[in-house]
């Protein structure tokens, strides 16, 4: 019922807007048949609407108006929509007692006409009388919305205070109009307040400009006074509305390239297609990458993925995914499978499952009898029934490796989050025939995040414990085997019953046999942990962290983590002079040999510092950096027993960079950089090295479509006794043609010295149509004494 009523309001809003309270003026005119003018009161805008005839012959309409006392007319172009033209005189220009106006009609043939037509001769404009404010205006206060306010529809309500009116006023008789639609039956009276709530009527009052009019009546039913104001009702936000609609884009890119290097020629062909779409708070993404480099004897090069996400609540990815769990556990690894998360705010869960390595079958090269089989790494047992001998020399294959990771977490990460991670990864023993030592890995971890004072103080930490089985091909130990291996008098003096208990418990998660490790968990050999405290105050970004990674820590979700290391890291980034000056300082002290498995402990210390100055005015930007790396294990190189384990090296690096944009006849941008590095190795490996490099580059813009580059660089290195020095020059330019749609650039750069080479680069990029770009690239390298190299390729990209 209510809905129906409001539907009516909705339908009639426009209609009434045109009829009531408006002046209709009709003058005889060839182009304008009628003028409609809205309510005229000082301080309110005036909407002027003209009905047009002969619209095809009109090219422009301009309203000229002035208020009382002004000599000059203010001109404002009218918006022509179909056979109507509209314009609004802003409220601050509407002054009592009257306004004057006329309309300039520019015709398609260039001639000018006026409304009123006689204005040309008489220069007499039309008048609109403007009502002056009344003292009663201040008695009736429209509290909300404020005049001219843009009100979000969700927060919209009208409130009117009748606190100042005389006692004979009947507040309940008040009438309220929104663009002349009577909404009085929905108002609530609370004491002196009259309230029309948008909340109860949300969505039924359409978005747009509104004039509120309130009529206050006395107890006899006579109109006492009326007040008005105007506001704009906007949707939650115009842009947000746009954001919430279906958005999509995508592109397809194809590339074909030939690389000729060392007289071998390879063609690379690849195709990438991307599609992104979003609807309200859902988004979806699909990607496919196909390459000629995909080979069945290599891990996959092709990629495909599909993902969908509901803003901060739910996400699911399928295909080649890169799950991000705590960094010690799973981060950056490709998992072909699924990865998803569900966030409930207080409780969240994240899970990933799939394949990290695909199976690659090995190759049988030779077979041996038991007697002849050599003790070599790639000689493994094979099926003697099939291959007539029990041993074979093989190219080892890769087992298919599966991974499952789950992380429940508590808290929203705004101020607090506590997570627990579980990762299990296992090689599929039966996936290939010629492989050795399939493995299995189990990692448990926890992570904590605490952010205080708007995350200016952040305490974060994570810890993980891993178990690895380096050969699961034989399966788990049986109870009989355990009884035999463990116990007093056996090889390992541990109560077999304890071992069985452990097996019963852990055996659900990982294969338990003689290859499981670590053997010394009590020494934290497979524990990895890190904690960091960062403080962000007074333009300082200070971070102090500690890491500990036992020598046997391993997660198949994070293969390349440096292990057997512990130590502190301190860094500070300081912003000064209103972010024009940046100072960075860092110090790190790490050491290894955590489980005393090495002859000596090496200390790795790193000091890094840099100062950058980016002035806002025209002055070069400067960056200076100094770094020092010192590795030492305290062993003396002359020690007869341990001398060849001695590590003692120090590297120093210094960098300097100037960047300057200046105008010397034409705009230039120049960059000059120096870098020098030297390593003094007094350890056994004695790999001393020195590098120096200087580079100057100047880009000049000669015209809007022509620019040039000049660069010169000198590089010298001294590694051991070998010196390499060379000098390179580059000269080139870029030229834009066909209204900037075609871009050509070419660079020639010869190198002299210990390395000689001449390189020529040519790139043409052509914007064929709005969404289609074609790029042709050719590089040619002539290297004296060696075969010449070239790279030639064509890329086409189409954006949807």
């Amino acid at each position: 019922m209510l809905l129906k009523k409001f539907l009516k309001i909705f339908l009639f809003v426009g209609f009434f807007f045109a009829l009531s309270f408006e002046n209709n003026i009709a003058q005889v005119n060839d182009y304008i048949s009628n003028i409609t003018i809205s309510q005229q009161r000082e301080g309110l805008p005036i909407h002027i609407k003209s009905d047009l005839r002969n619209t095809t012959s009109i090219s422009e309409l301009t309203l000229a108006y002035r208020s009382f006392g002004m000599n000059e007319y203010i001109k404002s172009e009218m918006l022509i929509v179909s056979d109507q033209a509209k314009v609004t005189i802003p409220s601050d220009r509407v002054k009592a007692p009257f306004m004057e106006y006329y309309i300039i009609i520019t015709l398609s043939d260039g001639n000018i006409s006026y409304y009123p037509s006689e204005f040309l001769d008489s220069e007499t404009p039309l008048q609109i009388s403007i009502e002056a404010p009344s003292p009663k205006d201040s008695e009736i206060i429209i509290l909300t919305p404020e005049k001219g306010e843009k009100v979000n529809e969700k927060e919209f309500f009208v409130s009117l205070s009748l606190i100042g009116v005389p006692n004979n006023i009947n507040p309940k008789a008040t009438k309220l109009f929104l663009n002349d639609v009577d909404v009085s039956e929905y108002i609530v009276v609370a004491g002196d307040l009259i309230i029309f709530s948008g909340e109860n009527n949300s969505g039924l009052i359409p978005i747009g400009n509104y004039l509120i009019k309130a009529e206050v009546y006395d107890s006899t039913g006579l109109l006492y006074h009326s007040v008005q104001t105007q506001f704009e009702l906007i949707s939650s936000s115009v842009a947000e509305a746009e954001l919430s609609q279906f958005n999509y884009n995508g592109n397809i890119k194809g590339e074909s390239r030939n690389e000729n290097y060392n007289s071998s020629s390879i063609f690379y062909n690849n195709l990438t297609a991307n599609f992104n779409g979003s609807y309200k708070d859902w988004s979806a993404n699909a990607m496919i990458y196909l390459s000629s480099e995909e080979k069945n004897y290599l891990q996959p090069v092709n990629r495909f993925s599909f993902s969908m996400e509901k803003e901060d609540r739910f996400s699911l990815q399928a295909g080649d995914t890169y799950p991000r769990f705590p960094s010690l556990i799973l981060d950056g690894k490709r998992v072909r499978g699924f990865n998803g998360s569900l966030d409930f705010g207080v409780f969240n869960i994240q899970a990933a499952a799939g394949e990290t390595l695909r199976k690659i079958e090995g190759k049988l090269l030779d077979t041996y009898s038991s007697k002849d089989a050599p003790l070599e790494s790639n000689v493994i047992r094979i099926d003697s029934l099939r291959y007539s001998n029990p041993f074979g020399r093989v190219d080892l294959g890769t087992f298919k490796r599966n991974i499952v990771a789950i992380r429940p977490s508590f808290g929203s990460r705004e101020n607090f989050e506590l997570g627990f991670s579980y990762l299990h990864s296992k090689d599929e023993n039966s996936s290939i025939e010629f492989g050795a030592r399939p493995q299995e890995n189990l990692v448990f971890g926890s992570d904590l995040f605490v952010g205080i004072d708007n995350q200016r103080i952040v305490l974060s930490g994570e810890a993980a414990f891993s178990l690895i089985n380096k050969d699961i091909s034989g399966g788990s130990l049986t109870d009989t085997q355990i009884d035999s291996i463990f116990g007093a008098g056996s090889f390992i003096d541990i109560d077999p019953n304890d071992v069985k208990k452990v097996k019963d418990y852990l055996g659900k998660f990982i294969t338990i046999n003689q290859y499981i490790g670590p053997l010394n968990p009590q020494k934290f050999s497979s524990l990895a942990a890190e904690g960091a405290l960062s403080l962000n105050y007074f333009s300082n970004n200070l971070k102090l962290s500690y890491i500990y990674r036992g020598n046997e820590f391993q997660s198949f979700g994070q293969n390349f983590l440096r292990t057997d290391v512990k130590g502190f890291n301190f860094s500070d980034r300081i912003r000064l002079l209103e972010n024009q000056l940046f100072v960075s300082l860092g110090f790190e002290l790490l050491s290894d040999n955590l489980q005393n498995t090495k002859i000596a402990t090496t200390d790795y210390s790193t000091f890094s510092s840099s100062v950058s100055y980016f002035p806002r005015f025209n002055f070069p930007s400067i960056t200076v950096g100094y770094y020092r790396f010192d590795n030492n294990n305290g062993l003396n190189i002359l020690d007869p027993v341990y001398g060849n384990y001695a590590i003692d090296d120090i590297s120093n690096r210094f960098t300097l960079n100037f960047g300057y944009r200046f105008t010397l006849e034409i705009p230039h941008s120049a960059n000059l950089s120096f870098s020098t590095s030297s390593r003094d190795d007094n350890g056994f490996s004695n790999t001393d090295a020195n590098y120096n490099s200087t580079n100057l580059q100047v880009n000049s813009t000669w015209a809007s479509d022509l620019s040039s580059i000049f660069s010169a660089s000198y590089y010298s290195s001294e590694i051991g006794l070998k010196n390499i020095d060379f000098f390179s020059l580059s000269i080139g330019g870029k030229y834009l043609l066909l209204e900037n749609k075609l871009q050509l650039s070419a660079v020639f750069s010869p190198t002299f010295g210990d390395i000689e080479r001449q390189a020529f680069d040519f790139i043409a990029s052509y914007n064929v149509i709005k969404n289609l770009d074609l790029i042709f690239q050719a590089r040619y390298y002539r290297i004296p004494g060696r075969s010449n190299s070239s790279i030639v390729g064509v890329t086409a990209q189409y954006n949807i």
Partner: protein, 357 residues
């Protein structure tokens, strides 16, 4: 006479047996490795799938023999060998066999003993370190000693780390020549160097390393600890200037079942653009960064605005002005800004987006 005959027969038998004993020899071959799991020294009848690290040759074959083994351990170069474990087999017919056949064939362990305090000490270290001596003795069925032999295995620094010492992460390198150097790994048979292009910022280093045809495709550096890219055969493809590269070194340690690999952390670097298109070094980087930022905004900002952003940088010759700042004029890097705006979108905190032209 009878006693004489007996004496002669006895003598003959004795001499025969002594001839036999003198001619029975044992030969031990041990896998040349510097890393082994402790489990290789678990001697038990019930164990299957043991690592094959020893080959025992008893000549002549076909005789009834008993084998005894003694494993001793020397913690470091300054200490001396202590006995860890001993075992004795049942009687079997002499032949050539591997250690993993003891306990899983007709050759079975009859006795085994261990010094549990030493075993515990090794277990605490976690891996075999120092030196392990394996001594093998062969007896006939009457327990008469026939021959013995031994081999020593040296396990050096089992918990090693491999670090690339040059270049450093984030270095800008000369496209014509740079050095890749790493620390020594004791017992490494050879080192492999791999490098590959990182096509975009969103790719993880690991994923970049393993995608497509590498620039340096597992170049075998032998036992050297550094290579230069200007050396022949190091590069498989021409180094593209201005590109991003990821580098990894792998140390291969010989061992059973393919041995083991020790990987360095992946080091990301940039190749200097000396000969690229004008300003490519700075400009392409800046443009790539801007494009990356805009691509990041695809799902976040309204389509028309993303298109406007794209168009805004299209027709610029020099590096376009493209910065993100807050109300107070504090700048944010594009990466910071992208993450920040993403988070705002995620949290539903964006009120409005407008292009003020």
């Amino acid at each position: 006479m009878k006693s004489f005959v007996t004496l002669i027969i006895s003598f003959l038998l004795l001499s025969y047996s002594s001839v036999l004993s003198q001619s029975t020899t044992i030969e031990l071959y041990v896998f040349d490795t510097s890393q082994l799991d402790l489990s290789a020294f678990l001697f038990d009848n019930n164990l299957s799938n043991q690592q094959r690290i020893m080959q025992v040759d008893i000549i002549p074959t076909g005789k009834k023999v008993v084998l005894e083994g003694i494993v001793s351990w020397k913690e470091n170069l300054n200490s001396s060998f202590v006995e860890v474990a001993t075992f004795k087999t049942n009687t079997f017919i002499s032949r050539t066999f591997f250690n993993d056949e003891i306990g899983s064939s007709e050759i079975l362990f009859a006795e085994k003993n261990s010094n549990s305090s030493v075993v515990d000490k090794i277990r605490t270290i976690g891996k075999p370190t120092g030196q392990v001596e394996i001594k093998i003795r062969v007896f006939d069925e009457k327990n008469t000693f026939l021959d013995d032999t031994y081999k020593t295995l040296t396990f050096e620094n089992p918990a090693q780390t491999l670090e690339i010492t040059s270049p450093f992460s984030g270095d800008e390198l000369n496209p014509l020549d740079f050095q890749i150097a790493w620390n020594e790994v004791q017992g490494a048979e050879y080192y492999l160097v791999k490098a590959n292009y990182k096509l975009n910022e969103s790719q993880s280093d690991e994923s970049a390393l393993n995608s497509g045809t590498p620039v340096i495709n597992n170049f075998n550096a032998g036992a050297r600890l550094a290579i230069n890219t200007s050396e022949p055969n190091v590069l498989q493809r021409e180094l593209l200037e201005g590109s991003q590269l990821v580098i990894q070194v792998t140390a291969h340690i010989n061992g059973t079942g393919g041995g083991s690999n020790l990987y360095s952390k992946i080091v990301p670097v940039t190749i200097q653009a000396l000969t690229g298109s004008p300003g490519s070094g700075i400009q392409n980087n800046a443009l790539n960064e801007i494009n990356g930022f805009i691509n990041n905004m695809v799902d976040i900002l309204p389509n028309p605005i993303v298109n406007d952003l794209r168009n805004s940088i299209k027709e610029e010759n020099a590096i376009p002005i493209f910065e993100v700042e807050d109300e107070d004029g504090n700048g944010k890097t594009l990466l910071e800004a992208a993450n920040f705006i993403k988070q705002l979108k995620k949290d539903g905190k964006i009120i409005s987006v407008k292009y003020l032209k």
